[in-house]
C-alpha cells in the first residue's frame, strides 16, 4: 500500500482534488449562500491543520514504528520492550509485499527494538529464545554508553557478544526522553559470516 501511495501520489492527489471541485461545484449550483458555511469550515480546518500536521508528523512516524515493533515485529512476531531483535536475513528485493526490508542495504544485518528507560538504566533485559539480549544501556546526557548484545540460542545458552561503538548521548536531551527507538546495523559479508556472527 505504502509503495502504491509513493508511486501514484500525483494521480491520487489529482483524483481527490477533482472530487473536491465537483463537491464545490454542486454547492455553487444550489446558490452561493450554500458555499459560505463550507468555506468557513474549510478555512478553519485548514488553518488549524497545517501547523498541527507539521508539528505531529515526526511524532506520528515514531509512534508508527513503535506500534509496528511492539505489535508486529520485524518478521518474527512482536518484539517486547527492552528487547532488541536481530533480523535473521539481510534486506533483499525478494521479500514479499514490498516490505521495509526491501528498502535497506543488502549488506547489513538490521537490529531493532524499543527501549523504555523510565525506570532508569537497564542492566539487562529478559531474554527470549533466539533473541538478542540488551546487556547495558545508560541514558544520562553526556554519559558514555554502549549497547552490547548476546545472542541467546534456542537451548538457552548465551554465545557471542556483539557491542555497538561507544557513544555519548547529546547533552540537550532531557529526562523526558526516556523511550527510544533503537536500530543497529551490522556489516555482513556473506551468508556464512552472517551465520557465524549469530551462532
Amino acid at each position: 500500500m505504502n509503495r502504491l501511495i509513493m508511486k501514484y501520489a500525483y494521480p491520487m492527489t489529482a483524483v481527490i482534488l477533482a472530487i473536491f471541485v465537483w463537491v464545490i461545484y454542486r454547492r455553487i449550483s444550489h446558490g452561493w449562500s450554500d458555499v459560505v458555511v463550507l468555506a468557513m469550515a474549510a478555512g478553519i480546518a485548514y488553518a488549524l491543520g497545517v501547523p498541527a500536521i507539521l508539528y505531529l508528523w515526526p511524532r506520528l512516524g515514531v509512534s508508527g514504528y513503535k506500534r509496528a515493533i511492539l505489535k508486529r515485529g520485524l518478521g518474527d512476531g512482536p518484539i517486547p520492550i527492552n528487547t532488541l531483535y536481530a533480523v535473521p536475513s539481510t534486506s533483499s528485493p525478494g521479500v514479499p509485499g514490498g516490505s521495509l526490508m526491501a528498502t535497506g542495504a543488502d549488506d547489513l544485518l538490521y537490529i531493532g527494538g524499543w527501549l523504555d528507560l523510565r525506570k532508569g538504566p537497564q542492566g539487562s533485559a529478559r531474554a527470549r529464545n533466539g533473541r538478542a539480549v540488551l546487556q547495558r544501556a545508560v541514558h544520562r546526557p553526556g554519559e558514555e554508553f554502549q549497547f552490547c548484545l548476546r545472542r541467546q540460542t534456542h537451548h538457552g545458552n548465551q554465545s557471542r557478544r556483539l557491542c555497538s561503538q561507544r557513544s555519548r548521548l547529546d547533552g540537550n536531551r532531557t529526562e523526558r526522553d526516556d523511550s527510544d527507538f533503537v536500530t543497529m546495523r551490522v556489516r555482513t559479508r556473506t551468508w556464512a559470516s552472517l551465520r557465524r556472527q549469530w551462532r
Partner: protein, 200 residues
C-alpha cells in the same frame, strides 16, 4: 439535537472540514518538501541532507527530515546520497547505460564501509538475475591502469567489465550511496561524488 445534526450534515460543515483537512495535509507536504529541498545539498547530481537528526532542529526541519528520511542516522554516523538524474540532468532509466568514474584514490572515504544500491523510484530494491544488489568497498572492483575505478550501471551484463557491473532496474530508477562513519573529507564537504554519466 437531531435538527442540529441534520443542519450540520446538510450545511456543508462536514464537507468543509474534510476539504480543509485534506488541503492542509497537501500544504504540509508541500512545505515539508520545500524545506527538505532547502536543506538538501546537491553536488554533481547527488543530493544529501546533513542537518537531520540534530537536536537543535526546529519544527519545520524536523518534519522535513521525518518525511524525507524517517528515523535517519545523523550524517556523522551514516552519510546518504541519492540521485535520480544523470550528469545531463536526465532521469535515470534502465533503457540507457551509465557509468560512475571514481578517480584514483577518490572512492568514498569512510571508517566503516560504503555501498552503492540501485532502487526503483519509490526506494525499493528490484530483483535481478544475478542477485547483485549493490557494490561497495568489499566488491573487489577492478581498477583501470591509472588506478581509477569505473562502475557500470546497466540492466544487462557489460561483458568484459563484469566485475564492476551493477545491474539496474529496467524502468526508471535511482541510486543510493551510503557511507558509514564517513571520513573527514565527507564531513567537511570537500569530498564530491562523481556524476553519473550516460554512455553514448
Amino acid at each position: 439535537m437531531r435538527n442540529v445534526l441534520v443542519w450540520v450534515s446538510g450545511s456543508g460543515v462536514v464537507q468543509g472540514v474534510i476539504i480543509g483537512a485534506a488541503l492542509a495535509f497537501l500544504t504540509a507536504i508541500i512545505i515539508m518538501n520545500l524545506v527538505g529541498r532547502r536543506i538538501t545539498t546537491t553536488v554533481n547530481g547527488w543530493s544529501a541532507i546533513r542537518q537531520c537528526g540534530q537536536p537543535g532542529n526546529g519544527i519545520l526541519v524536523r518534519a522535513a527530515c521525518a518525511k524525507a528520511l524517517p528515523v535517519v542516522n545523523v550524517f556523522e554516523e551514516a552519510a546518504y546520497w541519492t540521485t535520480a538524474k544523470d550528469a545531463s540532468r536526465q532521469a535515470l532509466s534502465g533503457r540507457h547505460e551509465y557509468s560512475l568514474h571514481f578517480p584514483a584514490g577518490e572512492l568514498p572515504p569512510s571508517d566503516a564501509f560504503w555501498s552503492l544500491t540501485p532502487t526503483d523510484v519509490a526506494g525499493y530494491m528490484v530483483n535481478n538475475p544475478t542477485h547483485r544488489n549493490s557494490v561497495g568497498d568489499r566488491s573487489n572492483l577492478a581498477k583501470n591502469v591509472d588506478g581509477s575505478i569505473d562502475v557500470y550501471l546497466l540492466p544487462t551484463s557489460p561483458g568484459e567489465h563484469q566485475q564492476n557491473w551493477l545491474p539496474t532496474p529496467s524502468g526508471a530508477f535511482k541510486l543510493i550511496l551510503r557511507a558509514y562513519l564517513p571520513g573527514a573529507a565527507i564531513l567537511n564537504g570537500s569530498y564530491r561524488l562523481p556524476p553519473v554519466v550516460r554512455a553514448q
